[in-house]
């Protein structure tokens, strides 16, 4: 692992992905009490976004569908213990799904299965991820991402979609691990600073 220059520990400003309406938290609470209709509602609300993310992480639609299924199964089983103060609802779902994706990526590496080519080198188009994060958050996020140069932004997006976990840094980005990590470091710092300045 690369030794970084000493830098102060900063946390990102809170506020991203907050469940402002409380709708998702209420659904999860109902799921914790065994309400299947709440699960159906949450599935309708989040499964397209989660499927889009997992599809891009795994590069395989069928596997991605399976991961989203497994995510909702885990959420259903863990809903009674879910604490909204620890993590906003969508972040909880995302982290649950990401853990499952990582398991599959590790399995691929163990079995030396080839990963599908990664299409995520280019920065993505802007989207308003309604039902997941608020429009205001989306605007803040895109404004922060606009501060990055192309390489930094591509690296950050690729990292968020576990692109480096899939194929390793040199194979994915065509740069040394040190360069990629420097890009990521700068990207995170820029985004963090911008979001702090423009906290709602």
């Amino acid at each position: 692992m690369i030794e970084a220059e000493p830098s102060p520990v900063h946390a990102l400003p809170s506020g991203l992905c907050e469940d402002t309406t409380g709708e998702a938290a209420a659904l999860i609470e109902r799921m914790g009490k065994g309400d299947g209709t709440a699960l159906a509602e949450l599935h309708g609300m989040w499964s397209p976004v989660l499927l889009g993310i997992s599809c891009r992480m795994l590069g395989d639609r069928r596997e991605a569908e399976q991961v989203v299924q497994d995510t909702f199964v885990r959420m259903w089983r863990g809903s009674a213990e879910y604490d909204p103060h620890q993590s906003p609802p969508f972040v909880w779902a995302f982290v649950t799904m990401r853990a499952l994706v990582m398991e599959r990526l590790r399995m691929r590496r163990r079995n030396r299965l080839e990963s599908p080519p990664d299409p995520a080198i280019q920065p993505s188009e802007r989207r308003d991820a309604q039902k997941v994060i608020s429009s205001a958050d989306c605007r803040r996020l895109w404004a922060a991402m606009d501060q990055l140069d192309l390489k930094e932004r591509a690296c950050l997006e690729l990292a968020a979609f576990l692109g480096f976990a899939r194929t390793g840094i040199p194979a994915t980005a065509g740069a040394s691990p040190g360069t990629v990590k420097n890009h990521l470091r700068r990207a995170l710092e820029t985004v963090r600073n911008h979001l702090s300045r423009h906290e709602l």
Partner: protein
């Protein structure tokens, strides 16, 4: 481990630590609230970036139902939404009925009949004034809805019973042989599902060994063992077909073998029957590539509520499906089915089926 905990949290979040480093980091995180907070905030950022950057995809049909089945939320599960709906409406009817009785004092006059009157929602006893006010109409509406839900449930149960009933010439998922009309399987053992599947896989294998320009093999055919365990040898000249259909997912594959070219301006059409005397339903036309050798095609019937009792392949002029009859039926299955009924064919419109590669 990296000297900057924020960096380490980032590499952990982005899956860039190897397994050993991840374990060390997780242990450190448990003891360090600052590290936990850094990870939590990075999780938020990663969730926001991915949600904003990924194009949402609509899950395939039936994913929610699969999920609910997995969790035991439907059919027999204690948390069935359908039962919740039924019991909810029933409870509403009971409450409404009780309120009516109390309001007009009928219960006091006939206390012994109170219990009997509650479930009899078909004949709500209410004063004419309430009928005019709409209470009776509401009861009737609720009764009708309960009745409709009950019928739906019965249909689902019937469908499930049929799906899991083993019949000669059929297996689960539905696998059946299709032979020319009048032909019967020479070897009774060939009716067993293993042999049927063996034939299907052998046909796929043959298809793979003898590549044809238009062959469309299933995506994962290479992952299937293509050596049938107990399969009779493939008939070399007689045309045959094997539909394999999973009603639960509405996904099927048709494997055709030795089907002669349809001829100029003619096409082969696939039909499905759902029971003796029922009208055959048009599924779709076989692509021209199926006109020789062994080939396979994916199809769907447009609904998981269709349970095929048989399949037919007809040869018709152009791409207009004609009535399945003795003249144009080239293959039908299972080998001893009820004959198609000419006058009751549903060939209006494009049919519910879809073809895939």
């Amino acid at each position: 481990m990296n000297s900057d905990p924020y960096d380490s949290a980032a590499w952990r979040t982005f899956g860039m630590l190897d397994a050993d480093e991840a374990v060390i980091f997780d242990e450190a995180m448990r003891a360090d609230p600052g590290l936990r907070r850094a990870c939590a905030e990075l999780d938020r950022l990663a969730a926001a970036i991915t949600a904003a950057a990924a194009e949402p995809l609509v899950p395939q049909a039936g994913q929610l139902e699969r999920l609910q089945r997995r969790l035991g939320l439907v059919r027999g599960g204690g948390k069935s939404p359908l039962w919740v709906a039924v019991s909810g409406w029933a409870a509403a009817v009971v409450v409404a009925g009780t309120a009516v009785w109390r309001e007009y004092g009928v219960a006091e006059k006939h206390p012994a009949k109170m219990a009997d009157s509650v479930p009899v929602v078909e004949k709500p006893i209410a004063p004419p004034a309430l009928e005019e006010a709409g209470g009776g109409m509401e009861n009737k509406r609720l009764t009708a809805e309960i009745e409709a839900l009950r019928k739906n449930l019965e249909e689902f149960h019937l469908r499930d019973r049929m799906m899991f009933q083993l019949l000669p010439g059929r297996a689960l998922p539905l696998v059946m042989t299709m032979l020319p009309p009048g032909e019967t399987a020479e070897d009774p053992a060939a009716q067993a599902s293993a042999a049927l599947l063996g034939d299907a896989l052998a046909a796929l294998n043959q298809s793979a060994r003898e590549p044809q320009p238009m062959t469309a093999a299933p995506e994962d055919s290479s992952q299937v063992s293509l050596q049938p365990v107990d399969s009779r040898p493939m008939e070399q000249t007689q045309p045959s077909a094997i539909p394999i259909y999973d009603a639960a997912r509405d996904a099927g594959t048709l494997v055709v073998n030795n089907l002669p070219p349809a001829g100029d301006g003619q096409v082969y059409n696939l039909w499905v029957t759902t029971g003796a005397g029922e009208r055959p339903i048009y599924v779709g036309s076989l692509p021209e590539s199926s006109a020789s050798g062994a080939d396979s095609f994916d199809f769907s019937l447009g609904s998981t509520m269709v349970l095929p009792s048989g399949f037919l392949i007809t040869r018709d002029p152009g791409d207009k499906p004609a009535t399945p009859g003795e003249r144009n039926t080239v293959l039908l299955g299972p080998p001893t089915p009820a004959r198609p009924v000419d006058s009751k064919v549903d060939d209006t419109g494009a049919g519910p089926g879809r073809w895939g590669r």
